[in-house]
């Protein structure tokens, strides 16, 4: 019950601070812009590219991936920005003192905040990805492979980043926490590239560097797997998949399981750290 109250309070805060409206309005603006852009570009491509080549290269897939990649990036940003201050800021302001002295346990505060933010982030991710796929489907009649699994992986990426940010908030100041999470995301991003290029060049060492960094921060690996699942197989065979929005090699299913475990353990550690710290 207390967990749901804290989750409700987190949602209320997002609504009252107009964050929710900003996300909804700007999310809608993003989709409108994407729809206009996609419609214009797709029409142009259809005119210029012979039908056979267009079907072979599936430029539509490229634009879908580009759109989803942008959403994926927004999800990561939102995961950090909505959570980076939620515990650290309340500790700094003393607000947390009046909350944890209520008849509830500290773990309920952490889990409640996580739940509220995770629900908002997940709904945002699903709605944005589904709307983008719908735009493409309506305009071009195209739907990439494995859309549900891919959206699930993008949701998981957001949850990984969100949980890490909440974990950091139990020990670090808001600013330091934000810097740490963004830097870790940056590491995972560049390691993802090293892994992809290593895969194309058949460099096991480069691939291993990417895997090791993914173990430290498994966010980018989720996108890479989502991209891999959505791409037509022949693009990979043609060597056209190592684009900024694609994936030449897929992180394994084990990495997905690892990301889930990583999230659960990070949340458990956050609960433990918050439960033991002086406020």
């Amino acid at each position: 019950m207390s967990v749901l109250e804290i989750a409700r309070l987190t949602f209320l805060e997002a609504r009252m601070r107009k964050m929710l409206w900003a996300i909804l309005l700007l999310g809608a603006a993003f989709l409108i812009l994407y729809a206009i852009g996609f419609h214009l570009i797709y029409a142009d491509i259809r005119e210029r590219m012979p039908g056979g080549v267009a079907r072979l290269l599936e430029p539509t897939n490229f634009f879908v991936m580009a759109g989803l990649y942008a959403i994926n990036f927004l999800v990561v940003m939102l995961a950090v920005l909505t959570s980076v201050d939620t515990i650290a800021g309340e500790i700094a302001s003393g607000t947390i003192q009046t909350i944890v002295t209520k008849p509830l346990r500290r773990w309920q505060v952490v889990v409640g905040k996580w739940l509220g933010l995770a629900l908002m982030l997940s709904v945002f991710t699903v709605v944005m990805c589904a709307a983008l796929l719908l735009i493409v489907k309506l305009d071009a009649g195209y739907m990439p492979n494995n859309p549900v699994a891919a959206i699930g992986l993008i949701v998981l990426e957001g949850l990984v980043v969100l949980t890490l940010s909440i974990l950091g908030g139990t020990r670090l100041s808001t600013l330091t926490n934000g810097v740490v999470v963004f830097m870790l995301y940056g590491l995972a991003f560049i390691a993802g590239w090293i892994e992809q290029i290593g895969s194309v060049l058949r460099s096991d060492a480069a691939v291993n560097v990417g895997i090791v960094v993914s173990l430290i921060m498994p966010s980018e690996a989720m996108w890479k797997r989502a991209a891999y699942l959505m791409q037509p197989p022949f693009l990979r065979e043609l060597g056209f998949s190592a684009t900024p929005f694609g994936a030449a090699s897929a992180p394994s299913e084990a990495m997905v399981v690892y990301a889930v475990l990583y999230t659960v353990i990070a949340l458990a550690v956050a609960v433990r750290w918050f439960g033991r710290r002086d406020l």
Binding site: E5, G94, Q97, T98, V100, T101, K102, P103, D278, L279
Partner: protein, 333 residues
Amino acid sequence: MLIETNNLRKTFGDTVAVDSLTLSVGAGEVFGFLGPNGAGKTTTVKMLLGLVAPTAGEARLLDHRPGDPAIMGRVGFLPEQFRFPAWLTAADFLDVHGRLYGLPAAERRARIPRLLERVGLADRARSKLGEYSKGMMQRVGLAQALLNDPALVFLDEPTSGLDPLGRREVRDLIHELRAAGVTVFLNSHFLSEVEVTCDRVAIVKRGRVVRIGTLAELTRQTTEVEIRAAGLSPELVAGLASWGQVGKWQIADNKLQEAGDNPQVAETENSIRNTQYAIRNDDVVRLTLTVANEDVLPEIADYLVQGGARVYTLAPQRISLEDLFMRVMEEEG
């Protein structure tokens, strides 16, 4: 006992914030925890509420460990430093905290307007807290602390930021809580506030309780006695030192002359000996003597009379809490 601590200690690195704190607070008491800034008052409250873990020792709150959810529904708390969410209205803020207390909706609807009325914010119930002044924020914090109709309330510097009228209202509120049988743990460095509201007081300095007791007990521990007598010789005055510390004295030409009428004043009994003004037999000397307690007054009266003094006044002066506090702060270095 609603609060019990046994050798409670908290250190932050090499800094000792609270040291060997042993105290108990009974039901219905208004207990004042008095000390200068940085004395460890807030850390103590935080340990009692489970916000801070003690380094050593034990604390019990309503016979449970501090912070136990089983009892926190009966505890109210106004923190010293807080910033309530600026985006909530006062009514919404109290509703959120009412929910966290687990109060049913009907109860929240009944209590919240009543409490806002009580703290003088009824007409600002729908204003965002971000528009509140510090004093108004303090009031809504008080309402939050009383929302659950608590058996025990911790008020950490409750009048901080309030104007004189607001301070008076907080004092009245504490009196009301006492009348309702609510136990109040009042952290404050406002001596007058503690003096008029508290049944018992602990004076804390550098993390240690240096005095504890009722106001009467504390002020009786050191009693200042005003002596006005004629026929005092310097030797007789010096002999008073065996009961306590001789303070300022003054000598007047007229035996009933008041202090302001051009008296000669010396600071100690040594200066009585060295003064250029000889004490004549008719001179009325007024001096103060700080003794351990009032029980020694008959002995002093006997001593003075048998020494040939004519005693006009031998009156114990009740020292204020402020005097005691300042003395304690100086005594303990």
